[in-house]
Amino acid sequence: MKITKKEVEYVARLARLALSEAEKEKMTAQLDSILQYMDKLNSLDTKNVEPTSHVLPLNNVWREDKVQPSLSREEMLANAPEQAEGFYKVKKVIE
Protein backbone atom coordinates (compact mmCIF):
# COMPACT_ATOMS: atom_id res chain seq x y z
CA MET A 1 0.00 0.00 0.00
CA LYS A 2 1.26 3.47 -0.92
CA ILE A 3 -1.03 5.27 1.51
CA THR A 4 -2.59 4.40 4.85
CA LYS A 5 -6.09 5.06 6.10
CA LYS A 6 -4.55 7.29 8.76
CA GLU A 7 -3.03 9.55 6.10
CA VAL A 8 -6.36 9.74 4.30
CA GLU A 9 -8.02 10.82 7.54
CA TYR A 10 -5.32 13.48 8.05
CA VAL A 11 -5.71 14.91 4.53
CA ALA A 12 -9.50 14.84 4.87
CA ARG A 13 -9.27 16.77 8.13
CA LEU A 14 -7.01 19.41 6.53
CA ALA A 15 -9.57 19.81 3.74
CA ARG A 16 -12.45 19.89 6.26
CA LEU A 17 -14.03 16.81 4.67
CA ALA A 18 -16.16 14.49 6.78
CA LEU A 19 -15.77 10.96 5.42
CA SER A 20 -17.72 7.92 6.52
CA GLU A 21 -15.83 4.70 7.26
CA ALA A 22 -16.88 3.30 3.88
CA GLU A 23 -15.69 6.45 2.11
CA LYS A 24 -12.37 6.31 3.91
CA GLU A 25 -11.83 2.75 2.67
CA LYS A 26 -12.82 3.74 -0.85
CA MET A 27 -10.57 6.85 -0.87
CA THR A 28 -7.63 4.89 0.49
CA ALA A 29 -7.94 2.35 -2.30
CA GLN A 30 -8.37 5.02 -5.00
CA LEU A 31 -5.51 7.19 -3.81
CA ASP A 32 -3.38 4.07 -3.57
CA SER A 33 -3.95 3.23 -7.20
CA ILE A 34 -3.23 6.86 -8.21
CA LEU A 35 0.05 6.79 -6.33
CA GLN A 36 0.95 3.46 -7.91
CA TYR A 37 0.40 5.05 -11.28
CA MET A 38 2.75 7.86 -10.23
CA ASP A 39 5.37 5.20 -9.58
CA LYS A 40 4.91 3.99 -13.11
CA LEU A 41 5.44 7.54 -14.40
CA ASN A 42 8.49 7.89 -12.19
CA SER A 43 10.07 4.88 -13.87
CA LEU A 44 10.40 6.89 -17.10
CA ASP A 45 13.80 8.42 -17.76
CA THR A 46 13.19 12.21 -17.78
CA LYS A 47 16.80 13.23 -17.26
CA ASN A 48 16.87 15.34 -20.42
CA VAL A 49 13.36 16.78 -20.14
CA GLU A 50 12.84 20.30 -18.80
CA PRO A 51 10.32 20.35 -15.94
CA THR A 52 7.04 21.86 -17.09
CA SER A 53 6.30 24.95 -15.06
CA HIS A 54 2.97 25.53 -16.74
CA VAL A 55 0.87 23.71 -19.32
CA LEU A 56 0.59 26.82 -21.49
CA PRO A 57 3.74 27.92 -23.34
CA LEU A 58 3.30 31.41 -21.91
CA ASN A 59 4.88 33.70 -19.36
CA ASN A 60 4.60 37.34 -18.27
CA VAL A 61 0.89 37.82 -18.73
CA TRP A 62 -0.03 41.09 -17.04
CA ARG A 63 -2.62 43.72 -16.53
CA GLU A 64 -1.67 47.40 -16.18
CA ASP A 65 -2.15 48.99 -12.77
CA LYS A 66 -5.52 50.59 -13.50
CA VAL A 67 -8.47 50.75 -11.14
CA GLN A 68 -11.62 49.22 -12.59
CA PRO A 69 -15.03 49.58 -10.97
CA SER A 70 -15.72 46.98 -8.30
CA LEU A 71 -19.11 45.31 -8.01
CA SER A 72 -21.67 46.97 -5.75
CA ARG A 73 -21.73 45.88 -2.15
CA GLU A 74 -25.33 44.71 -2.52
CA GLU A 75 -24.34 42.40 -5.39
CA MET A 76 -21.25 41.15 -3.60
CA LEU A 77 -23.14 40.36 -0.41
CA ALA A 78 -26.19 38.94 -2.19
CA ASN A 79 -25.14 35.31 -1.92
CA ALA A 80 -23.65 35.47 1.55
CA PRO A 81 -25.33 33.06 3.98
CA GLU A 82 -25.32 35.85 6.55
CA GLN A 83 -24.59 39.57 6.40
CA ALA A 84 -24.92 42.60 8.66
CA GLU A 85 -24.08 46.30 8.47
CA GLY A 86 -22.31 45.89 5.12
CA PHE A 87 -20.15 43.00 6.30
CA TYR A 88 -20.12 39.28 5.68
CA LYS A 89 -21.09 37.73 8.98
CA VAL A 90 -19.56 34.54 10.34
CA LYS A 91 -19.57 32.68 13.62
CA LYS A 92 -17.48 34.36 16.30
CA VAL A 93 -13.82 33.77 15.54
CA ILE A 94 -11.85 33.37 18.74
CA GLU A 95 -8.21 34.29 18.29
Partner: protein
Protein backbone atom coordinates in the same frame (compact mmCIF):
# COMPACT_ATOMS: atom_id res chain seq x y z
CA UNK B 1 25.09 30.53 32.02
CA UNK B 2 25.09 33.40 29.56
CA UNK B 3 22.57 33.30 26.71
CA UNK B 4 22.30 35.07 23.41
CA UNK B 5 19.21 35.56 21.30
CA UNK B 6 18.79 34.57 17.67
CA UNK B 7 16.24 36.70 15.85
CA UNK B 8 14.87 36.61 12.31
CA UNK B 9 12.16 38.94 11.02
CA UNK B 10 9.40 38.48 8.47
CA UNK B 11 8.19 41.82 7.20
CA UNK B 12 5.02 42.17 5.15
CA UNK B 13 4.76 45.42 3.21
CA UNK B 14 1.70 46.37 1.19
CA UNK B 15 2.78 47.59 -2.21
CA UNK B 16 1.56 51.03 -3.19
CA UNK B 17 -0.21 50.01 -6.39
CA UNK B 18 -3.47 51.73 -7.30
CA UNK B 19 -5.28 48.46 -8.03
CA UNK B 20 -5.11 45.04 -6.41
CA UNK B 21 -2.65 42.33 -7.38
CA UNK B 22 -4.96 40.17 -9.52
CA UNK B 23 -7.98 42.40 -10.28
CA UNK B 24 -8.87 46.04 -10.90
CA UNK B 25 -10.38 46.78 -7.48
CA UNK B 26 -9.00 49.88 -5.76
CA UNK B 27 -6.48 49.52 -2.91
CA UNK B 28 -7.43 52.87 -1.32
CA UNK B 29 -7.28 52.63 2.49
CA UNK B 30 -10.27 53.54 4.63
CA UNK B 31 -13.16 52.86 2.22
CA UNK B 32 -16.56 51.65 3.42
CA UNK B 33 -16.44 47.89 4.13
CA UNK B 34 -16.80 45.56 1.16
CA UNK B 35 -17.04 48.33 -1.43
CA UNK B 36 -13.72 47.49 -3.13
CA UNK B 37 -14.32 43.85 -3.98
CA UNK B 38 -15.23 41.84 -7.04
CA UNK B 39 -15.66 38.20 -8.10
CA UNK B 40 -11.89 37.81 -8.66
CA UNK B 41 -10.63 38.95 -5.25
CA UNK B 42 -13.43 37.17 -3.42
CA UNK B 43 -12.73 33.90 -5.21
CA UNK B 44 -16.03 33.31 -7.01
CA UNK B 45 -16.08 30.17 -9.15
CA UNK B 46 -14.83 30.52 -12.71
CA UNK B 47 -12.79 33.71 -12.34
CA UNK B 48 -9.14 34.05 -13.32
CA UNK B 49 -6.48 36.23 -11.69
CA UNK B 50 -4.24 38.41 -13.90
CA UNK B 51 -1.03 39.77 -12.39
CA UNK B 52 -0.56 43.52 -11.88
CA UNK B 53 2.68 44.44 -13.67
CA UNK B 54 3.52 47.30 -11.30
CA UNK B 55 3.49 44.90 -8.32
CA UNK B 56 6.24 42.88 -9.99
CA UNK B 57 8.20 46.02 -10.85
CA UNK B 58 7.99 47.26 -7.24
CA UNK B 59 9.22 43.96 -5.80
CA UNK B 60 12.10 43.85 -8.30
CA UNK B 61 13.04 47.42 -7.35
CA UNK B 62 13.07 46.42 -3.69
CA UNK B 63 15.10 43.31 -4.49
CA UNK B 64 17.74 45.38 -6.27
CA UNK B 65 17.91 47.93 -3.45
CA UNK B 66 18.48 45.07 -0.98
CA UNK B 67 21.11 43.43 -3.20
CA UNK B 68 18.99 40.33 -3.72
CA UNK B 69 19.51 38.06 -6.70
CA UNK B 70 16.40 38.26 -8.87
CA UNK B 71 15.42 34.81 -10.12
CA UNK B 72 15.16 34.59 -13.92
CA UNK B 73 11.97 32.59 -13.45
CA UNK B 74 9.58 32.78 -10.53
CA UNK B 75 6.11 31.44 -10.09
CA UNK B 76 3.13 31.44 -7.80
CA UNK B 77 1.88 28.74 -5.48
CA UNK B 78 -1.27 28.12 -3.48
CA UNK B 79 -0.98 28.16 0.29
CA UNK B 80 -4.02 26.39 1.66
CA UNK B 81 -5.73 27.04 4.95
CA UNK B 82 -9.19 27.86 6.22
CA UNK B 83 -9.93 31.16 7.85
CA UNK B 84 -12.93 33.49 7.44
CA UNK B 85 -10.75 36.34 6.11
CA UNK B 86 -9.57 34.17 3.21
CA UNK B 87 -12.48 33.75 0.79
CA UNK B 88 -10.77 31.36 -1.65
CA UNK B 89 -9.56 29.07 1.17
CA UNK B 90 -6.10 29.48 -0.29
CA UNK B 91 -3.74 32.40 -0.58
CA UNK B 92 -1.86 32.94 -3.82
CA UNK B 93 1.74 33.24 -2.68
CA UNK B 94 5.16 32.00 -3.77
CA UNK B 95 6.94 28.95 -2.44
CA UNK B 96 10.02 27.35 -4.01
CA UNK B 97 10.54 30.00 -6.70
CA UNK B 98 10.25 33.46 -5.12
CA UNK B 99 11.02 36.67 -7.00
CA UNK B 100 14.42 37.08 -5.35
CA UNK B 101 16.85 35.65 -2.79
CA UNK B 102 20.17 36.14 -0.99
CA UNK B 103 20.37 39.86 -0.26
CA UNK B 104 21.48 41.91 2.72
CA UNK B 105 20.97 45.13 4.57
CA UNK B 106 23.68 47.06 6.43
CA UNK B 107 22.52 48.65 9.68
CA UNK B 108 24.18 50.87 12.27
CA UNK B 109 24.04 49.69 15.87
CA UNK B 110 26.03 51.48 18.57
CA UNK B 111 28.15 53.19 15.93
CA UNK B 112 29.07 49.89 14.26
CA UNK B 113 27.92 48.59 10.91
CA UNK B 114 26.39 45.13 10.89
CA UNK B 115 25.41 43.23 7.75
CA UNK B 116 22.08 41.38 8.11
CA UNK B 117 21.19 38.77 5.51
CA UNK B 118 17.93 38.67 3.60
CA UNK B 119 16.80 35.15 2.73
CA UNK B 120 14.12 35.89 0.19
CA UNK B 121 11.51 38.34 -1.04
CA UNK B 122 8.25 37.06 -2.44
CA UNK B 123 4.94 38.39 -3.66
CA UNK B 124 1.52 37.35 -2.38
CA UNK B 125 -2.00 38.63 -1.88
CA UNK B 126 -3.24 40.10 1.38
CA UNK B 127 -6.21 38.59 3.24
CA UNK B 128 -9.31 40.41 4.48
CA UNK B 129 -10.00 41.87 7.88
CA UNK B 130 -12.04 40.44 10.74
CA UNK B 131 -13.94 42.57 13.22
CA UNK B 132 -15.07 41.24 16.56
CA UNK B 133 -16.71 44.45 17.69
CA UNK B 134 -17.90 47.62 15.97
CA UNK B 135 -16.30 50.52 17.78
CA UNK B 136 -16.82 49.37 21.37
CA UNK B 137 -20.12 47.62 20.63
CA UNK B 138 -20.04 43.85 20.94
CA UNK B 139 -21.51 41.80 18.09
CA UNK B 140 -22.90 38.29 18.26
CA UNK B 141 -20.47 36.95 15.65
CA UNK B 142 -17.54 38.23 13.61
CA UNK B 143 -17.70 40.60 10.64
CA UNK B 144 -15.60 40.19 7.50
CA UNK B 145 -14.41 43.12 5.37
CA UNK B 146 -12.75 41.93 2.17
CA UNK B 147 -11.51 45.32 0.89
CA UNK B 148 -7.96 44.36 1.81
CA UNK B 149 -8.23 40.95 0.16
CA UNK B 150 -5.95 40.90 -2.86
CA UNK B 151 -3.90 43.98 -2.04
CA UNK B 152 -0.34 43.15 -3.17
CA UNK B 153 1.88 42.16 -0.30
CA UNK B 154 5.64 41.76 -0.37
CA UNK B 155 7.15 39.45 2.23
CA UNK B 156 10.77 40.13 3.12
CA UNK B 157 12.31 37.31 5.15
CA UNK B 158 15.58 37.98 6.96
CA UNK B 159 18.25 35.48 7.93
CA UNK B 160 18.38 34.71 11.68
CA UNK B 161 21.27 37.20 11.90
CA UNK B 162 20.06 39.52 14.64
CA UNK B 163 21.28 39.01 18.20
CA UNK B 164 19.55 41.82 20.08
CA UNK B 165 16.20 43.64 20.00
CA UNK B 166 18.17 46.81 19.15
CA UNK B 167 19.50 45.16 15.99
CA UNK B 168 15.98 44.10 15.04
CA UNK B 169 14.79 47.66 15.59
CA UNK B 170 17.65 49.08 13.50
CA UNK B 171 16.85 46.59 10.72
CA UNK B 172 13.21 47.71 10.62
CA UNK B 173 14.13 51.40 10.57
CA UNK B 174 16.62 50.84 7.74
CA UNK B 175 14.18 48.68 5.76
CA UNK B 176 11.37 51.20 6.16
CA UNK B 177 13.66 53.98 4.98
CA UNK B 178 14.53 52.01 1.83
CA UNK B 179 10.90 51.19 1.03
CA UNK B 180 10.00 54.86 1.48
CA UNK B 181 12.86 56.05 -0.72
CA UNK B 182 11.77 53.55 -3.38
CA UNK B 183 8.20 54.80 -2.94
CA UNK B 184 6.87 51.22 -3.13
CA UNK B 185 5.02 51.13 0.22
CA UNK B 186 3.42 53.57 2.65
CA UNK B 187 5.05 51.68 5.53
CA UNK B 188 2.34 52.68 7.96
CA UNK B 189 2.28 50.17 10.80
CA UNK B 190 -0.89 51.62 12.32
CA UNK B 191 -2.81 51.30 9.06
CA UNK B 192 -1.32 47.85 8.62
CA UNK B 193 0.59 48.59 5.42
CA UNK B 194 3.71 47.32 7.20
CA UNK B 195 3.60 44.28 9.49
CA UNK B 196 6.30 42.37 11.25
CA UNK B 197 6.53 38.89 12.76
CA UNK B 198 9.61 37.70 14.61
CA UNK B 199 11.19 34.29 15.04
CA UNK B 200 13.15 34.24 18.24
CA UNK B 201 15.15 31.65 20.15
CA UNK B 202 17.97 31.64 22.68
CA UNK B 203 21.13 29.58 23.04
CA UNK B 204 24.12 29.55 25.39
CA UNK B 205 26.79 31.94 24.13
CA UNK B 206 29.25 29.94 22.04
CA UNK B 207 26.77 27.25 20.99
CA UNK B 208 26.37 26.89 17.22
CA UNK B 209 23.01 25.09 17.05
CA UNK B 210 19.84 27.14 17.24
CA UNK B 211 17.45 26.68 20.14
CA UNK B 212 13.73 25.99 19.70
CA UNK B 213 12.10 29.10 18.34
CA UNK B 214 8.86 30.87 19.05
CA UNK B 215 7.10 32.96 16.44
CA UNK B 216 5.94 36.28 17.87
CA UNK B 217 3.09 38.07 16.11
CA UNK B 218 0.73 40.99 16.60
CA UNK B 219 3.27 43.78 17.09
CA UNK B 220 2.00 47.06 15.71
CA UNK B 221 4.87 49.49 16.12
CA UNK B 222 8.66 49.38 15.82
CA UNK B 223 8.99 50.08 19.53
CA UNK B 224 6.47 47.27 20.10
CA UNK B 225 8.70 44.86 18.18
CA UNK B 226 11.66 45.80 20.35
CA UNK B 227 9.66 45.48 23.58
CA UNK B 228 8.09 42.17 22.52
CA UNK B 229 11.53 40.75 21.71
CA UNK B 230 12.95 41.96 25.02
CA UNK B 231 10.07 40.29 26.85
CA UNK B 232 10.24 37.06 24.84
CA UNK B 233 14.01 36.66 25.24
CA UNK B 234 13.74 37.18 29.01
CA UNK B 235 10.86 34.68 29.14
CA UNK B 236 12.80 32.01 27.26
CA UNK B 237 15.86 32.48 29.47
CA UNK B 238 13.70 32.15 32.59
CA UNK B 239 11.97 28.99 31.29
CA UNK B 240 15.34 27.46 30.39
CA UNK B 241 16.91 28.35 33.73
CA UNK B 242 13.98 26.76 35.52
CA UNK B 243 14.91 23.53 33.75
CA UNK B 244 11.94 23.46 31.39
CA UNK B 245 11.81 23.13 27.63
CA UNK B 246 10.94 25.90 25.18
CA UNK B 247 7.96 24.85 23.07
CA UNK B 248 7.83 25.67 19.37
CA UNK B 249 4.72 27.80 19.09
CA UNK B 250 3.16 31.04 17.93
CA UNK B 251 2.87 33.74 20.58
CA UNK B 252 0.89 36.96 20.43
CA UNK B 253 2.23 40.25 21.78
CA UNK B 254 -0.18 42.12 24.04
CA UNK B 255 0.88 45.76 23.88
CA UNK B 256 -1.20 46.77 26.92
CA UNK B 257 0.02 44.02 29.23
CA UNK B 258 3.50 44.10 27.60
CA UNK B 259 3.65 40.30 27.50
CA UNK B 260 3.50 37.54 24.89
CA UNK B 261 0.85 34.81 25.12
CA UNK B 262 0.75 31.38 23.53
CA UNK B 263 -1.78 31.05 20.72
CA UNK B 264 -2.19 27.33 21.44
CA UNK B 265 -2.96 26.49 17.84
CA UNK B 266 -2.65 22.96 16.55
CA UNK B 267 0.61 22.30 14.72
CA UNK B 268 -1.18 20.56 11.88
CA UNK B 269 -2.74 23.91 10.95
CA UNK B 270 0.69 24.73 9.49
CA UNK B 271 0.51 22.02 6.85
CA UNK B 272 -0.26 24.35 3.97
CA UNK B 273 0.05 21.80 1.14
CA UNK B 274 1.57 24.28 -1.30
CA UNK B 275 1.26 23.46 -4.97
CA UNK B 276 1.94 25.45 -8.16
CA UNK B 277 -0.83 27.94 -8.95
CA UNK B 278 -2.38 26.70 -12.21
CA UNK B 279 -4.22 29.98 -12.91
CA UNK B 280 -1.07 32.07 -13.33
CA UNK B 281 1.81 31.73 -15.77
CA UNK B 282 5.44 32.13 -14.62
CA UNK B 283 7.21 35.49 -14.39
CA UNK B 284 10.38 35.64 -16.48
CA UNK B 285 12.81 38.48 -15.78
CA UNK B 286 15.58 38.91 -18.34
CA UNK B 287 18.72 41.04 -18.06
CA UNK B 288 17.26 43.76 -20.22
CA UNK B 289 14.22 44.27 -18.02
CA UNK B 290 16.35 44.12 -14.91
CA UNK B 291 18.65 46.82 -16.28
CA UNK B 292 15.66 48.99 -17.18
CA UNK B 293 14.29 48.76 -13.64
CA UNK B 294 17.75 49.35 -12.18
CA UNK B 295 17.92 52.59 -14.15
CA UNK B 296 14.79 53.85 -12.38
CA UNK B 297 16.18 53.28 -8.86
CA UNK B 298 16.24 56.57 -6.95
CA UNK B 299 19.13 57.78 -4.82
CA UNK B 300 18.88 55.78 -1.57
CA UNK B 301 19.57 57.08 1.93
CA UNK B 302 23.17 55.84 2.11
CA UNK B 303 24.02 57.50 -1.21
CA UNK B 304 22.18 60.67 -0.24
CA UNK B 305 24.06 60.78 3.05
CA UNK B 306 27.39 60.70 1.22
CA UNK B 307 26.22 63.41 -1.16
CA UNK B 308 25.07 65.65 1.72
CA UNK B 309 28.52 65.37 3.31
CA UNK B 310 30.27 66.22 0.03
CA UNK B 311 27.90 68.75 -1.49
CA UNK B 312 26.85 70.66 1.63
CA UNK B 313 29.92 70.04 3.84
CA UNK B 314 27.69 68.65 6.57
CA UNK B 315 29.10 66.49 9.38
CA UNK B 316 28.42 62.73 8.96
CA UNK B 317 26.06 62.88 11.91
CA UNK B 318 23.88 65.64 10.42
CA UNK B 319 23.80 63.93 7.04
CA UNK B 320 22.75 60.68 8.72
CA UNK B 321 19.88 62.25 10.65
CA UNK B 322 18.63 64.28 7.68
CA UNK B 323 18.65 61.38 5.21
CA UNK B 324 17.23 58.62 7.45
CA UNK B 325 13.75 59.85 6.51
CA UNK B 326 13.13 60.60 2.85
CA UNK B 327 10.64 63.38 3.58
CA UNK B 328 13.07 65.05 5.97
CA UNK B 329 15.88 64.93 3.42
CA UNK B 330 13.59 66.57 0.86
CA UNK B 331 12.55 69.21 3.40
CA UNK B 332 16.20 70.03 4.06
CA UNK B 333 17.07 70.34 0.37
CA UNK B 334 14.04 72.54 -0.26
CA UNK B 335 15.10 74.78 2.66
CA UNK B 336 18.64 75.37 1.42
CA UNK B 337 17.65 75.99 -2.19
CA UNK B 338 19.30 79.35 -2.86
CA UNK B 339 20.54 79.61 0.74
CA UNK B 340 24.25 79.63 1.41
CA UNK B 341 24.54 78.19 4.93
CA UNK B 342 23.42 74.53 4.95
CA UNK B 343 24.89 73.89 8.41
CA UNK B 344 22.72 76.60 9.98
CA UNK B 345 19.65 75.07 8.32
CA UNK B 346 20.68 71.62 9.49
CA UNK B 347 21.05 72.85 13.09
CA UNK B 348 17.60 74.39 13.18
CA UNK B 349 15.94 71.40 11.52
CA UNK B 350 17.68 68.76 13.63
CA UNK B 351 17.26 70.43 16.98
CA UNK B 352 14.30 72.83 17.06
CA UNK B 353 12.10 71.43 14.31
CA UNK B 354 12.48 67.72 15.05
CA UNK B 355 12.07 68.30 18.79
CA UNK B 356 8.88 70.33 18.31
CA UNK B 357 7.44 67.86 15.80
CA UNK B 358 8.22 65.03 18.17
CA UNK B 359 6.56 66.79 21.09
CA UNK B 360 3.49 67.56 18.97
CA UNK B 361 3.49 64.01 17.56
CA UNK B 362 3.53 65.35 14.01
CA UNK B 363 5.37 64.26 10.89
CA UNK B 364 7.56 66.56 8.83
CA UNK B 365 4.83 66.65 6.17
CA UNK B 366 2.40 68.08 8.71
CA UNK B 367 4.77 70.86 9.76
CA UNK B 368 3.27 74.35 9.48
CA UNK B 369 6.84 75.62 9.15
CA UNK B 370 7.53 74.98 5.48
CA UNK B 371 11.01 75.09 3.94
CA UNK B 372 10.17 78.65 2.83
CA UNK B 373 9.41 79.72 6.44
CA UNK B 374 12.65 78.14 7.57
CA UNK B 375 14.78 79.76 4.88
CA UNK B 376 13.31 83.24 5.39
CA UNK B 377 13.83 82.98 9.14
CA UNK B 378 17.47 82.02 8.61
CA UNK B 379 17.89 84.99 6.29
CA UNK B 380 16.46 87.33 8.94
CA UNK B 381 19.07 86.03 11.39
CA UNK B 382 21.87 86.41 8.82
CA UNK B 383 20.84 90.00 8.05
CA UNK B 384 20.86 90.82 11.76
CA UNK B 385 17.15 91.69 11.76
CA UNK B 386 16.61 89.21 14.56
CA UNK B 387 19.02 87.49 16.93
CA UNK B 388 19.26 83.72 17.26
CA UNK B 389 17.51 84.05 20.59
CA UNK B 390 14.59 86.00 19.17
CA UNK B 391 14.47 83.57 16.28
CA UNK B 392 13.37 80.92 18.80
CA UNK B 393 10.34 83.04 19.66
CA UNK B 394 9.65 83.54 15.96
CA UNK B 395 10.08 79.81 15.40
CA UNK B 396 7.55 78.90 18.08
CA UNK B 397 4.99 81.30 16.65
CA UNK B 398 5.53 79.95 13.11
CA UNK B 399 5.22 76.40 14.41
CA UNK B 400 1.92 77.17 16.10
CA UNK B 401 0.30 79.44 13.50
CA UNK B 402 2.15 78.93 10.22
CA UNK B 403 2.65 82.71 9.88
CA UNK B 404 5.65 83.84 7.83
CA UNK B 405 8.67 84.99 9.91
CA UNK B 406 8.61 88.65 8.77
CA UNK B 407 4.94 88.84 9.75
CA UNK B 408 5.70 87.42 13.20
CA UNK B 409 8.58 89.87 13.68
CA UNK B 410 6.36 92.81 12.74
CA UNK B 411 3.33 91.73 14.77
CA UNK B 412 5.36 91.04 17.89
CA UNK B 413 7.77 93.95 17.45
CA UNK B 414 10.76 91.65 17.58
CA UNK B 415 13.17 93.62 15.40
CA UNK B 416 16.64 93.50 16.85
CA UNK B 417 18.10 96.73 18.24
CA UNK B 418 21.53 97.25 16.69
CA UNK B 419 21.67 101.03 16.93
CA UNK B 420 24.81 101.81 18.97
CA UNK B 421 23.49 105.09 20.38
CA UNK B 422 20.31 103.49 21.65
CA UNK B 423 22.17 100.56 23.14
CA UNK B 424 24.78 102.80 24.79
CA UNK B 425 21.98 104.72 26.50
CA UNK B 426 20.44 101.56 27.93
CA UNK B 427 23.86 100.33 29.07
CA UNK B 428 24.49 103.55 30.97
CA UNK B 429 21.19 103.11 32.81
CA UNK B 430 22.07 99.52 33.69
CA UNK B 431 25.55 100.45 34.93
CA UNK B 432 24.15 103.24 37.08
CA UNK B 433 21.65 100.89 38.67
CA UNK B 434 24.20 98.11 39.33
CA UNK B 435 27.22 99.88 40.80
CA UNK B 436 28.09 96.85 42.93
CA UNK B 437 28.46 94.57 39.94
CA UNK B 438 30.56 97.18 38.15
CA UNK B 439 32.92 97.25 41.12
CA UNK B 440 33.10 93.49 41.22
CA UNK B 441 33.97 93.36 37.54
CA UNK B 442 36.69 95.93 37.97
CA UNK B 443 38.05 93.88 40.89
CA UNK B 444 38.50 90.99 38.44
CA UNK B 445 35.24 89.05 38.84
CA UNK B 446 34.49 88.39 35.16
CA UNK B 447 31.17 86.67 35.90
CA UNK B 448 29.78 90.11 36.71
CA UNK B 449 30.00 90.98 33.03
CA UNK B 450 27.48 88.26 32.15
CA UNK B 451 25.14 89.57 34.81
CA UNK B 452 25.29 93.08 33.37
CA UNK B 453 24.80 91.73 29.87
CA UNK B 454 21.75 89.86 31.08
CA UNK B 455 20.33 93.04 32.59
CA UNK B 456 20.68 94.86 29.27
CA UNK B 457 18.94 92.01 27.42
CA UNK B 458 16.20 91.97 30.03
CA UNK B 459 15.61 95.69 29.65
CA UNK B 460 15.28 95.31 25.88
CA UNK B 461 13.16 92.13 26.08
CA UNK B 462 15.99 90.25 24.41
CA UNK B 463 15.94 92.48 21.36
CA UNK B 464 19.37 94.12 21.75
CA UNK B 465 22.01 92.79 19.38
CA UNK B 466 24.21 90.75 21.77
CA UNK B 467 27.40 91.46 19.79
CA UNK B 468 26.90 95.19 19.96
CA UNK B 469 25.96 95.08 23.65
CA UNK B 470 29.07 93.09 24.46
CA UNK B 471 31.34 95.49 22.65
CA UNK B 472 29.93 98.69 24.15
CA UNK B 473 29.69 97.19 27.62
CA UNK B 474 33.37 96.23 27.58
CA UNK B 475 34.32 99.69 26.27
CA UNK B 476 32.44 101.42 29.06
CA UNK B 477 33.89 99.20 31.78
CA UNK B 478 37.52 99.51 30.73
Amino acid sequence: MKFEAVIGLEVHAQLKTKSKIFCGCSTQFGAEPNTQICPVCTGMPGVLPVLNKVAIEYIIKTSLALDCKVNPLSRFARKQYFYPDLPKNYQISQYDQPVSEHGYLDVQVDGKTKRLGITRIHLEEDAGKLLHEVGSRQIDGSYVDLNRTGVPLMEIVSEPDMRTPQEAHAYLIALKSILEYLDVSDCNMEEGSLRCDANVSIRPVGQKEFGTKAEVKNMNSFKGVQKALEYEIARQIKVTEEGERIVQETRLWDADKEMTFSMRSKEEAHDYRYFPEPDLVPVVVDEKWLAAIKATLPELSSQKKERFVKEYSLPEYDAGVLTADKNLSEYFEATIKGYANPKAASNWIMTELLAQLNAANKTIKESLITPKHMREMLELIDKGTISGKIAKTVFEEMFASGKMPDVVVKEKGLVQISDEGAIAKIIEEVLAANAKSVEEYKAGKTAALNFLLGQVMKKTQGKANPGVVNKILKDKLS
